[in-house]
């Protein structure tokens, strides 16, 4: 390998290392690295190449670099067990899947489909709770739900049950750290720690971060990513 190539490789690895350490690479922080990415297309290509081989994706937006794992990445993706440890007060898989349900509900409140920017500026926490409750109520009305549920170990009936069991602080029944409102707030805090949303607990609003927007627009718009992602989802359905 010639010296020029080694230098490009070193630069790309330096950027990836800093990103994986959770630090920012932008025009404000780690500026030298950012400039190497921005103004040297060889470094950019190398970084994207290495990241792809490691099941990662690199995106840029608002003069900042973002890294994310591809769906189902064994190397950098989270397992259910790890996520149970990460989200406060979640101990069972049923509770964890309820968190997934809430996260997906929030994503669809911001985006019906992938777009460069979210048409919704912010979502109120109370609206999120209402939306989750409404969806689950509708789900419970499906007549053969119980029958289908018997065939699966985990399904959406479990999520409905978890939700029903949670005391409803909206009706003045507080369950301390474990009522419907607190449960949704916990999920929001997890998303906040993942730098996906900004939270204003005074106004009780959820705001999507630049990271959130950039990944939605870039990752989900890529045809290959979309194909891989959906095949994952389908495979899991078939392999029950």
């Amino acid at each position: 390998m010639n010296a020029g190539m080694i230098e490009i490789l070193d630069n790309a690895l330096d950027i990836l290392k800093v990103l994986l350490q959770g630090e920012e690479v932008s025009k404000n922080k780690n500026v030298l690295l950012y400039d190497k990415y921005r103004y040297n297309s060889a470094v950019e290509e190398m970084l994207v190449h290495i990241a792809n081989r490691l099941e990662l994706r690199i995106y840029t937006g608002s003069d900042k670099l973002f890294v994310c794992p591809e769906a189902g990445s064994r190397l950098f993706g989270w397992t259910n067990e790890e996520l149970r440890d990460r989200i406060s007060y979640v101990t069972t898989n049923s509770e964890l899947f309820t968190c997934y349900f809430i996260i997906m509900t929030l994503v669809t409140m911001f985006y019906r489909e992938a777009y460069p920017d979210t048409p919704v500026a912010y979502v109120k926490i109370n609206d999120l709770i209402e939306s989750v409750a409404r969806r689950l109520e509708n789900l419970l009305r499906i007549p053969e739900l119980e029958k289908v549920s018997q065939e699966n170990q985990f399904d959406f009936t479990e999520i409905c049950k978890v939700w029903q069991r949670l005391p409803d602080a909206r009706e003045g029944v507080s369950g301390g750290k474990n009522d419907k409102v607190a449960f949704v707030e916990n999920v929001c805090r997890f998303l906040y720690n993942e730098k996906l949303i900004a939270l204003d607990m005074i106004q009780r609003i959820i705001y999507p971060t630049e990271r959130f927007k950039v990944i939605i627009w870039n990752y989900y718009e890529d045809r290959d990513n979309r194909r891989d992602l959906l095949s994952f989802v389908r495979e899991l359905e078939v392999n029950v």
Partner: protein, 546 residues
Amino acid sequence: MQTNKVSSLDKDDILAREIIQENLGGKDPDLALAEDFLEEVDVRLEQIKVYYPIMEMLRKRKMEVEFMQFVPELCFLLLAYLIYEGKLKHKGVSFQELGTFITKALRYMMVNSDAAGRELTAEILDGLQNGGRNFVLTTYDFKTGDFREKYIKLIEIKPSEDNVLEYFITEQGVDFYLRTKEFPEETKITINLLLFQKQMEKGAFGFAYETVKRLNMEVQKKKDKKYSLLEALMYGQLDSGEAYNRYHRSIVLQFEEEAELFNTAMKNVNMAFREYVDRIQNGLADEKQIRTFTLIKIIEKEIGRAQTLHTELLKEAVSFTKEYDHALGVRRKAIFTERFDFQNEFEKLVSQNERPAALKFLFEPLMNPYVRKQFNLLKAFEPQRVAQVKTGEMEEQPSEAVVDRITVDKLTGRRVRGNFVFYAARLLELLSIPGREMNLKTFAQVLVDSFSEDSVYNGDFISFILELNRDKKIGEHVKTINFADGKLELDEELKTIEAVFVKAVLSLPGQSTINQVVIQTFPETELELLPGLKITDMLFRGESKP
């Protein structure tokens, strides 16, 4: 009579229409109106769209809760604050700051309003953002035959570096605020500049200041236009290409004219500035005029800022072409791909009541990568601190606090102090008789002859010379170091050059006859002590003071 008059008017009208029709190449004038309508309707709707949010807020006025009925009117106040405290200062404004301002303003405008401030601020912000959904005005396009959505966003939120939500007024927001009492778009900068000139000429500095602030805002607004155009393009609005051309034309055409006006405005300010400077210097200015002079200085700063922004504007217009191409590229990509349908995929999973674990794959790319950390087996071979526990005879481990560890800093400090004392002692030996003088060249030569060149090349020698000259005031060329006033406490640190000399005296055999060294520098004479080592020449003199 009346009938005759009407019919003559009708005749005139018919004649006029005929002439117009001739000028229109035989086209029916009514149809020409329809043609104009088709051309103009979208421009007209585009013009009025910024008023849509206020109309909605007026329509949805909440009468039942106290103070909340004032939300539509107070949105102007909040927008004004976002312009003056945010936009013009290039920063975001937090909810806290907005709340404090609205509370203060309410207290000024009406009594018994203390409790309402924060809730009211939240309500105004919510109203201005349509509950987070922004405002969408649906209009019909006769050319394409379908309905189109126009987005209106007067304010926006961005998280700060510390992840605190901050509010900003958008370009549309500024546009709305100004349109409610201002001039047409293209002429705003020119009008403001002309106005400014008149005000400066007439000495109406108070008004001139207001104008220059407004001018600054206009230039800023034009600058922001770029981003909203890019946004419009990303959203795929059909007319954005035309809007881009319009923007480019307006920048390039108006730029020269405006630049000239800016130069004239600067000249005006400079003239006023000089006039007042003369007046003040000649002692002719009274207190009021001195205050006015302060205002002129602020105006000068503001107009300078506006001019800088204006220059940046042209630079940005040039770089805009590149960004425009990029946005077009993104859009081209979007045309050929199908958007990822979050809602549909979610609904599909839910309605089929399959495994909810699949949901994870839908949002997983949004998460941060999980960097696993594992135990490195080699760590087992690293030296470990072994805890020794012996029953009956516990050995006391020396605590870290009492261990005297020598750091590199300490070592360096000791070396420098030692060398300083060495140089001071040699200097004192050479100046041993009061009144004896010696220049730096001789001092260095003696050192080289006695202790080799290294003693002068040593960095500590230069540091010593600099230290001898430290704390001199600008323009002073003489420094006296007195080391025998009897007040010196000699500690190991040798914190002052006087302490260094005291220590040097003590290191010399016998009693020193001098207790003061005078250093005189000659800044205009530079001497080369050794090849490559240049320094200002100086003279040392030993003195004995009672």
